[in-house]
């Protein structure tokens, strides 16, 4: 019995107990899991599952400007990223309100322009540093400042989400009802909630890039969200499930990266992908229950 406990300790707890860098990676991943995954659920509900990817490109010009103005400063690059991500999202929303273009189409156009602008800015600055590596960190290199950024963003975004939950849900499911409801005039404006929500997405992604890398940030936001939708009917259960899956993927990914010697970011996303695969098979909305539920043909 002692043996088993000891082995379990070595496998699951030991690495975190021994190494501070793993503990920091764990905290950052968990914080991001708790705040980003619920936003992912809202994104899938709004049929904007690919928005995360688009935004992750749209932050580049802002990050580049931040880098040009104050060098490798986390604060400046994060602030620049938030501003340009917000601008891109707001501009896309604006275009879709006042033209016949749908939001996804205008966002596609905006993010491509932003990406081009970002690359041009970086190369005109003359440096040939491989900025992608500098701009986008690794979970294992998270420092105290990065940790503070992720934790701050996670707290702010959770509190905001909690405070405006009802309005956001209403706006997501039934914008017409929201507009006609008895709420105060400013509260009935759907675009207000939409912009607020997009702002949350942007700050989560930026915090994620700086500390965990692009792949990780978008992956941790979307994969658990998509598979959580297979498990539950109710939104609140989906939100909790998404956070739990993201956290589980984070812990498992870091442990596997330690034991199997694989890069940490992709391993975490791989674990989230595995959970998605399992969900596809056995969850209530997945393949197996659907097959079993199929009514027998009456001969």
């Amino acid at each position: 019995m002692m043996m088993i406990l000891e082995t379990l300790w070595d496998l699951l707890i030991g690495p975190f107990a021994e190494f501070a860098f793993l503990r920091r990676a764990l905290v950052a991943t968990l914080a991001l899991a708790v705040s980003a995954a619920p936003l992912g659920v809202f994104l899938t509900l709004r049929r904007m599952s690919l928005l995360g990817d688009a935004i992750s490109h749209a932050v580049l010009p802002g990050v580049a400007v931040g880098f040009m103005l104050s060098g490798l400063s986390l604060g400046a690059m994060a602030a620049g990223g938030v501003v340009s991500g917000m601008l891109a999202a707001a501009l896309a929303g604006f275009i879709s309100r006042f033209t016949t273009l749908k939001e996804d189409a205008s966002l596609a156009a905006i993010y491509l322009m932003a990406l081009a602008l970002g690359v041009t800015l970086l190369s005109s600055h003359g440096t040939q540093l491989d900025l992608l590596h500098i701009l986008f960190g690794s979970a294992l290199g998270v420092d105290a400042q990065g940790l503070l950024l992720v934790a701050g963003v996670a707290s702010a975004s959770l509190i905001t989400l909690a405070a405006f939950y009802r309005a956001l849900v209403l706006e997501t499911f039934d914008p017409v009802f929201l507009a006609a409801s008895g709420a105060r005039r400013w509260q009935r404006r759907g675009w207000l909630w939409q912009q607020l929500f997009l702002m949350l997405v942007v700050i989560n992604l930026v915090a994620g890039f700086q500390t965990l890398g692009t792949l990780m940030a978008v992956g941790l936001m979307m994969l658990p969200a998509v598979s959580a939708r297979l498990w539950h009917e109710s939104l609140s259960a989906q939100l909790l499930n998404a956070s739990a899956q993201a956290a589980l993927a984070g812990v498992a990914g870091l442990l596997l990266s330690y034991h199997l010697d694989t890069p940490s970011g992709p391993t975490i996303i791989g674990c989230a992908g595995l959970l998605y695969g399992v969900s596809l098979l056995v969850s209530p909305g997945g393949w197996l229950p659907q097959v079993l539920k199929r009514p027998h043909r009456v001969g």
């Binding site: 690495p15 860098f21 540093l129 491989d130 294992l140 420092d143 990266s257």
Partner: protein, 306 residues
């Protein structure tokens, strides 16, 4: 492939020589030379002196591995009579650029004739094909060959300046020998078991071989790849076990991960080393000789703490 390149070089240089010599004989303006990166530019400038006008494609503090040529670079090459590159696959884009710009002048592989080293196969990775280590200039004796190659090329393009190139390169070779001696003297104070250094990029192969230093630059700690938690953990254990205090980053990489590792192990991160590129003029690695002396001094200071 390589043979064809060499043949093309010969053919091109013959062509260039036949068509350019008459015009050069009367020209008094400096010979336009393009160097692929800052260290070569420094060497060409030293050898060529006033008789050459050197421009650099990849400037100070910039990474020649990740360089993407712009149209202006093609234009710079087109205006040159000599294109100096390191070779050994350090600038894979260089030949392509010269070809697409339809460059007709001479191309010099400055590393010609040095004994190439192979990158150590990465531990834990099974695809163990050894790559050639391109960072030949990290051994001053190699740079003597670089300088001779450059002097020879310049002399063939500008025979009138041959004696000047000869004189410049001889003076510089003396300085290179002095540098080599300086490094040996400095390192003599460090006993063999203490000669261990951790860096962010394994570019010190030639330097390490010349001065018997063990450089630990674990895969994944350099900027190119995502690290695994195991590698970082092993590095931390090694730092603690061997009591390594000499931890350095180079001028072009992201120091974040290494900075965190040093923090966790209670080591102070040493000052920047200059490896693949010179520093800007205001910093201590503005010429090849300064860069090497800076690196040696800092490394020795670091290893003394081991």
């Amino acid at each position: 492939m390589k043979r064809r390149t060499t043949l093309t070089c010969f053919a091109l240089s013959a062509l260039a020589a036949s068509s350019l010599l008459p015009s050069l004989a009367t020209a008094t303006e400096p010979l336009p030379v393009v160097a692929s990166f800052s260290i070569l530019a420094d060497l060409v400038q030293v050898v060529g002196g006033d008789r050459v006008k050197v421009s650099t494609l990849v400037g100070p503090d910039a990474d020649a591995h990740a360089f993407e040529p712009k149209p202006a670079d093609a234009k710079a090459i087109l205006g040159a009579k000599l294109f100096v590159i390191n070779g050994l696959a350090f600038e894979p884009w260089a030949q392509k650029l010269a070809k697409s710009a339809n460059y007709q002048g001479q191309t010099l592989l400055a590393s010609q004739g040095i004994q190439p080293r192979h990158m150590p196969p990465e531990p834990g990775h099974t695809h163990g094909h050894a790559e050639t280590d391109p960072h030949g200039w990290q051994d001053p004796r190699n740079v003597i060959l670089y300088v001779k190659n450059i002097a020879k090329s310049l002399s063939s393009l500008d025979p009138e300046g041959a004696s000047s190139y000869q004189k410049n390169s001889e003076t510089y070779i003396q300085e290179l020998n002095a540098l080599d001696q300086f490094a040996k003297d400095q390192l003599a104070a460090i006993p063999q078991p203490k000669r261990q250094v951790i860096t962010s990029h394994d570019a010190f192969g030639y330097f390490a071989a010349r001065y018997q230093i063990r450089f630990l630059a674990p895969q994944g700690i350099n900027a190119d790849t995502e690290p695994s938690a195991k590698e970082v953990a092993q590095l931390i254990r090694q730092i603690q076990r061997d009591k390594i205090r000499a931890v350095f980053v180079e001028n072009m990489s992201n120091p974040k991960l290494l900075a965190q590792i040093t923090k966790d192990t209670g080591v102070t991160l040493g000052p920047k080393l200059y490896v693949d590129a010179l520093s800007s003029p205001s910093e201590p690695g503005a010429t090849y000789l300064k860069m090497m002396r800076h690196n040696v001094t800092q490394l020795v200071a670091g290893m003394k703490l081991n």
